[in-house]
Structure formats: structure tokens, C-alpha cells
Symmetry: C2
Subunit: 490 residues, 2 copies
């Protein structure tokens, strides 16, 4: 199989994957960074493994694999407690565990058992071990449906092995793709969880449920609102790059100006360079947190404001503008000042996490994205499903099914369900595909004006804006309501 | 692979499968009979085919197969109508279509489009054509989850191809396993149907949700209530058979007395003979209809009462008792008087329908059954999962997963769902695994004291007892309520 980088020649893949990368694979590079950041909180948990069927939906493959899950019972009450169940997404579960402070912060109040279940094909939960990604046949069991079934079967196992669990309410919690899984889990397995808290879950970023340009528009708005001429500078930078890179000398100049680890050599490299920059702006929009944080990279408080301090004049001559662009990008890549050079292939390392999410994007998770350069600050790029599909087939031998997710999970028609909180940060580009309006009395939307990507799931911070405090308080209120209703039924 | 008859040596399989056979494969032999019965109603429909993915839950297998579905639009109103969608079960869909008179009877009143969707691996909807059953790999896609996904994807297709369908409410309807599918479809795909009418759907005949003996107890009660000494005669018949068949002469005597097409030769044959008789009593309980009918066999009104006229003295000498047993069984097998001889292997013909349901029973549809000879009139037989599982593995190379159905569909914990009618006939042995009590304001139980297996789904009849008329009227009332709620939302 081709490595992800083989796709860099395809513009559609570029624009598509740089988004997915934004909330997927960087987790891994970030994880490495975290080791050097002393302020990171690490929580106490025990690690467990459970044998799951590789295939829940067929019987020819009867083998099992070890699914990892983490447990903390410090505040757990067997009689009056609740089980908060994190529906793991596309990465190592220990990382999600350590970055979901909300669950740890509410554990004592709710007398909660915390469980973090790893998603199959990520972290240590590899159905075919080292061979999980070596063959499309082995990847065949990497779907959201299989992951949800893992969660259901694991919960049965918890009922049987943890005293008190069987008679306690379970609540699904997740962020981003994990939030989608939390919501879908409540929809498909309401007998397993009394409710779901889905933070920054773009369950409507499929087919034509939302405009394909909404994601980039939100990123652009974030920059537009963070400084005069900021988004305009970025919009102008693409043509500046084209002009400067059109000569050999210009290519070299860019490589030097941006302190690139590997110099740009041709137009393919320039394409990759622009994608890398695009992804940088996207990532900044996702992690535009109100305090110093270490989510995708170590970053200052309100990083877009810091970035925009360098981008105050969109009409500078090309090289001056690009120097400013470098300084802006450098905020993201080198806040600690330790980077020797910037590596534009950093987002396509081919690590397991990348591979898994690439595969999911090429099968079920078909999220149409586009930009027009007018309503957003990016280069115009149409959503081109046929090309996307052909590229997926070349890469994995599979064809994406663009109507499947809405068929199986209901698209916008989800009013028959109950007890789901959809929270979104207004500044988070993924909020464009999220549920922003209350659907019913028990399908709640909580919007956080000052919020980026699942800010509410992060641990409390003295610099938390009022809107996220209010959101968390509402979230706990609903969770308590579900618990109360459960106790009344029992 | 071994043929189903190879399992006749296994007592567990016997007692297990004769039940499943009762509502599965006989459809096929029956279908042949129907051709000779002029009173049968045939309805007008058009036949269509839709290309379905063989595997909805994985992407390695991207091939399609033709799913058959039948449509009647005689009374359909594109603007004010409703789509009644039959969730086909384990047999040829034309047969279900012709035996679900309820849908045809209400079509005009509801301005309904009628759709009957065939279940994969039955009738003409064979994923691998003639090779669908030739290899466990080919059978791998025969699951209820795949069937439900077929229905969901087909409904999207109907939205796109039938003017008015997209904006009309769909209602799932089914009986027996088809009723289970209708209920599960509303649970898992509530965005596709505004409600489900599940007639005689034993969704709780799994694990220990109901006592494993309840099925045989209901059969026994039916006979007990239909004539003095009736169930006692049958209870006593098993030992009488054992005694008589213990000699060569006795074996011959039984073969002659029962007009068997193939004489009994050994103790295996005697086991098969007893299973065939058990199945006969079970089937009679299922089709104990109040009028002449042709469901599993052409039968008189209240056939158990007719049968019991022969079984009025349980203390007769063995051969006299067995003569009576023959006359009783003959009511079931030879009501038309055309049978030349009785064929005890009739229920294991190895036709496609049999094979499919056998496979489903050996994978997902693990329904524990037992008898004790005290609370029921059958020979004692414990539920023995390990033996059952081993036999399945021998036969198909698959292992049944006895906890899967309750994990995926919720077992008794289904109160989060809405808009499902569970109707059951008190005389139907499958009602033991059905939902007999209202779960919530929108999860309704309708019980029909004088009803056998999904009597309410049959076409109206002048001899319908009051209880089924009342049931149908309630069912239509709820369906109208769902439609009304849908129109209010739209």
C-alpha cells in the first residue's frame, strides 16, 4: 500500500486530509511533546484489557483481540455512583484520558467510576497486532459500528466484573470523533447508557447536511476577528508563495525564511508546503484556548491573537509578507523555542494513528470540505468526490460510501433519540458540522462563544471564560438529571 | 458441510430446530401446497430489484447483490399517504406478501403504498446466487444487522425513486422474525420509520429473559384447553412409542399405523419420528386459527379442537393410543385428504430457506428452549448450550454467540425507544418470548386472547373473533397517531 505521503500529489487529498489530520494524527506528535512539558497533568488509573471479537457483525472471523481500557475508581461509590464512560476516538487512549480533565474534575461530585475505552486499531488495541495495517483485509474491521459494538460488549463485561456497575447508570462521554461516537452510542445502544455528552462532535459534517465551506469559513472568521488584516494576510500569502516559488532562487529563499528542515525542490513540494501552512491555521483555530495549553502543540493563551500580531498588513511586498507568515507559523511550531527547523511532513508520519484515520476517512467518514478564497482565506478548492474516491481506491483498495453515515445514524433526522448533550465552541471549525440548536427537551445544544475544540472537556483553569464555566455547569446539571431519572426508574 | 438432517442424531438440535422449523422452512413446503388451494388470495404487486452492498459493515467486500422487493401503489397517495414497509423474514417475500392481508386490508383507508422487502439469503435475494450456501464465507453476511441495513438503504432508494415517498411517513410491519426485525428496525433506524408494528415477535426469547420452558408450556396449554385428556394423551404417547418401537415388529406397526412414506428402521428413526410429532403439535399451536386456513398446512377452523377430538382418553393401551395420535396428526398433514403417505423428513428438506434459518440459529438467533414433561406434554429436554454450540461448529464452522442479540438490541431494557406495537396471541407459543405488557405510552402491548401466531396480520375473515378485531382497530389507531405526529412535525 502507498504511504499517506504518496497522496500529496493529489490536491483533493491535500485539502481533505489536512483537515482530518488536524484532529487526528497530531495527537501522536503532540504526545511526544507532552513528555517535555512539566505543566501537563497526569492522572492515576489502572490499565485493563478485554478480549473483543474482531468481527461483531459476522461469524466467519471468530478470533479476538485485546481492547485496552483505563479505569479510575478513586471516587466510585458502588451504591450511589455513576460510570462515566469515555468512548475512545482515533488515538492512544492514555492521551485522551489525560486530556479529558472534565471527567476527573467531576468524579468526586458524581462519585463516579471513570472508564476510558480505547478505539480498535489505535493505541494498543490492534486487532491483528503489527499486521493490523499491512493488508486491506486486516483493516476491514475498522469501522465506527464495530467500535460501538466494542463499547457495548465491554460495558456488559464491566457489569459482570465491577461490583455495583450493573445497577449504576452509565454515561457516554467523548470529544471530536469520540463525541460523535458518544452520541451515536446513545442513539444505537440506549440500553447501555442513560445519556451521552458529545463535545465538539461534527455529526453533520456529512453529505450536504452543512455547506462544504463552513469549516474553512469558521477558521477564517477566527483569524479575521483576532486582528486587523490577519485573515487577509493569509489569503494574500498563497499567491505570494506562488510568485516567489516560481524561481529556483525563490524556492531556496522560502526554505531558508521558513527554517524548513528539508528545502523545497519542486512544485509538488510547494503544494505540500501550502497544505502544511493551511493545516497550521486550521489547527490554531481548533486549539485557540484562553490559556497556555498543550493540546496539539505547546501554545500561548489565545494563540491566534499572538499569531495575528505578526499579520497586520496584508499589502506588504511578497517576501516581507512571507516573513510575517513564517513568524506567525512559528508561534504554532516553536512556542517553546526548541525547534531547530520546521518539518512540513510532520503531519504525515505514517504512524498507526494516521493510518487508521486515513482509512476511516476513505471508507465511512466522508466529510465533504471545500474553500472558495472569498468567504474564507484559503485557496479555492471544490469538493470532488469522484477524485477522492479514486484516490482512496488507489491507496487502500476500498471505495468510500458517502451516503452510509447518514443512512445508518440518521443525518439531521435524530429527533426520536433522547438524552444527548451536543456542546460546541463557536470558534471551533468543527462546530460547523455540529448540532448547534436544541432538537428536543432532551437533545440539548450548548454553545460556547469563547470556545475552541471541546474546551469544555478540558480540565478547569483559572482563565476559563465565563461561557465555558456556564456550559460545564449545564452539562453537569443534565447528567444529574439523567442519573435522577435512572434512579426513579430503578 | 453436513446437511441439516445430519443433525438428527443430536437431541439438542432436534428439540431446538423443530421449533425454528415451525415458523421457518415450512413456509416453503406450504407454498407448494398453496398452489393447489383455490381459496388462497393472491394480491397484485409489481416486482423490483435493488442492488445492495453484500457487506454494509466492512469495505473489503464491495460487491452487490439484487434484493427483491414488491410494491403495490393501488391506493397510494403521493401527498397524503403512508408507506407500509414489510420487513421481510426468513422466506420467499411473495409468500409473506400474500399472507399479510392486514396491509392489503388497510391500504385504501391509509392511502398506503405497500412495500415488501425480501430478507437477504431468502427467496430470490441471494448475495452469492447459487453459491450463497456453499461455503461459510459466503454465509458470513447473513445477519439481522445486515438485513436491517438493507432495509435502511432500500428506503433511501425509495425516497429517491418514488415521487412523494421522501415526504411520507414510513411504518415498519412484520410478523414472527419479521416482527422482530420491524421492532429492531424502529429501535436502530428511527429516522427511517415513524413506528413499527411487530406482530408475534419473540424479541425476548433469548438468554434467560424468559424461562426456557415457556414455549412448550404454551403449546401444552393450548391442547389442555381444547379437550379433556388431550395434552395428557400426547404426554403419554412418548413412552408408548418407546415401548412399541422397542421391537422390530413394533417399529413396523408404527410405520404402517402412521402411513409413513419411509418405514422406521432404528432408534435414530424413532427419535426423528418423535421430533416430527412434537413439531406437529407445535405447529398446530402456532396456526390454531378460528377459521379454515392455509398457513403452514391447509387446516380446519380451530384445528387443535379437531385434533383433540381424537385424544380424549390418555389411558388407552399403547397401540390404541398411538392410533389416536395418528388420527390427530393426520388432521395436520392430510386435511385435504390428498396425502398418500406421511413424510417425517418433510421439515428438513434442505431448501434454501431451511439452510438460512439454520445458520441464523447457529450464529445470532440463539433461543434457549427446554421441556420438562411436567409443566408441558413433551419429553424432558434441558437447554444445553455447549452441545448446541459444538453441533453448530461441526455443521457450519461457526460458534453461536448467545449474548450478542441482547447486547445489540437491548434485551428487556428497551424503554428508551418509542412507537412500537407488540401484538401477541395468547395461544401462540412464541408469545412466551414476546412483549406482553406496555413498556411506555408509545411502546404498546396488544394481547389477543383468541389469537395464534400473528393472527392480526392475516386478512380479515368473517370468523375473526372479537379480540382480533379489537386488536386491529387499536393497531390502526396507533398507526394513525404516528402519521398524525409525523404530519405535525413536518
Amino acid at each position: 500500500m502507498a504511504s499517506p505521503t504518496a497522496l500529496w500529489g493529489s490536491a483533493v487529498f491535500l485539502i481533505y486530509f489536512r483537515l482530518l489530520l488536524a484532529y487526528g494524527p497530531r495527537y501522536f506528535s503532540n504526545q511526544r511533546n507532552l513528555k517535555h512539558v512539566s505543566a501537563q497533568i497526569y492522572y492515576d488509573y489502572t490499565t485493563h484489557y478485554f478480549y473483543q471479537k474482531i468481527d461483531h457483525f459476522g461469524f466467519a472471523e471468530d478470533a479476538t483481540f485485546k481492547q485496552r481500557y483505563l479505569v479510575s475508581d478513586k471516587y466510585w461509590s458502588e451504591t450511589g455512583g455513576v460510570v462515566l464512560f469515555y468512548t475512545g476516538n482515533e488515538g492512544d487512549i492514555t492521551w485522551f484520558c489525560n486530556n479529558t480533565g472534565f471527567m476527573w474534575d467531576v468524579a468526586e461530585e458524581l462519585k463516579a467510576l471513570l472508564v476510558f475505552a480505547e478505539h480498535r486499531y489505535y493505541g494498543e488495541s490492534l486487532p491483528f497486532g503489527d499486521h493490523s495495517f499491512s493488508d486491506p483485509k486486516h483493516l476491514n474491521y475498522l469501522t465506527s459500528e464495530q467500535a460501538l459494538a466494542d463499547f457495548a460488549v465491554l460495558i456488559r463485561h464491566l457489569h459482570e466484573t465491577i461490583p455495583g456497575a450493573r445497577n449504576s447508570p452509565f454515561i457516554a462521554i467523548g470529544g471530536s470523533y469520540g463525541g460523535m461516537l458518544a452520541a451515536w452510542f446513545r442513539m444505537k445502544y440506549p440500553h447501555m447508557v442513560v445519556g451521552a455528552f458529545a463535545s465538539s462532535a461534527p455529526i453533520w459534517q456529512f453529505e450536504d447536511l452543512v455547506p462544504c465551506g463552513i469549516f474553512y469559513k469558521i477558521v477564517t472568521d477566527d483569524f479575521h476577528q483576532s486582528g486587523k488584516d490577519c485573515s487577509e494576510s493569509i489569503r494574500n500569502s498563497w499567491k505570494a508563495i506562488d510568485r516567489v516559488s516560481s524561481s529556483e532562487e525563490g524556492l531556496q529563499w522560502i526554505s531558508t525564511a521558513f527554517h524548513l528542515c528539508s528545502p523545497l525542490k519542486n512544485s509538488d513540494d510547494v503544494g505540500a508546503f501550502k497544505s502544511w501552512l493551511s493545516e497550521t491555521w486550521v489547527n490554531l483555530a481548533m486549539v485557540n484556548y484562553p490559556y497556555e495549553a498543550f493540546f496539539l502543540q505547546p501554545l500561548p493563551a489565545w494563540p491566534i491573537q499572538v499569531v495575528c500580531k505578526f499579520l497586520t498588513n496584508s499589502n506588504l511586498p511578497d517576501r516581507e509578507l512571507l516573513n510575517r507568515i513564517f513568524q506567525a507559523a512559528n508561534v504554532y511550531y516553536n512556542y517553546t523555542g526548541q525547534a531547530q527547523c520546521l518539518n512540513i511532513s510532520q503531519t504525515a508520519t505514517g504512524s498507526l494513528g494516521d493510518t487508521g484515520w486515513y482509512y476511516q476517512a476513505c471508507t465511512e467518514m466522508v466529510m465533504p470540505m471545500c474553500s472558495d478564497g472569498v468567504n474564507d482565506m484559503f485557496e479555492p478548492q471544490k469538493w470532488d468526490f469522484p477524485t477522492f474516491s479514486a484516490d482512496c481506491f488507489k491507496m487502500w483498495g476500498v471505495k468510500p460510501r458517502q451516503t452510509w453515515i447518514t443512512s445508518v445514524y440518521g443525518g439531521k433526522n435524530i429527533s426520536a433519540h433522547s438524552n444527548i448533550i451536543f456542546s460546541n465552541g463557536d470558534m471551533d471549525p468543527w462546530s460547523g458540522g455540529g448540532v448547534r440548536k436544541k432538537i428536543s427537551e432532551s437533545l440539548i445544544a450548548i454553545n460556547i462563544p469563547e470556545g475552541a475544540h471541546h474546551l469544555d472537556l478540558r480540565s478547569k483553569n483559572v482563565n476559563d471564560p465565563a461561557s465555558v464555566l456556564k456550559a460545564r455547569s449545564l452539562e453537569i446539571q443534565y447528567i444529574n438529571k439523567w442519573i435522577q431519572e435512572f434512579r426513579q426508574r430503578s
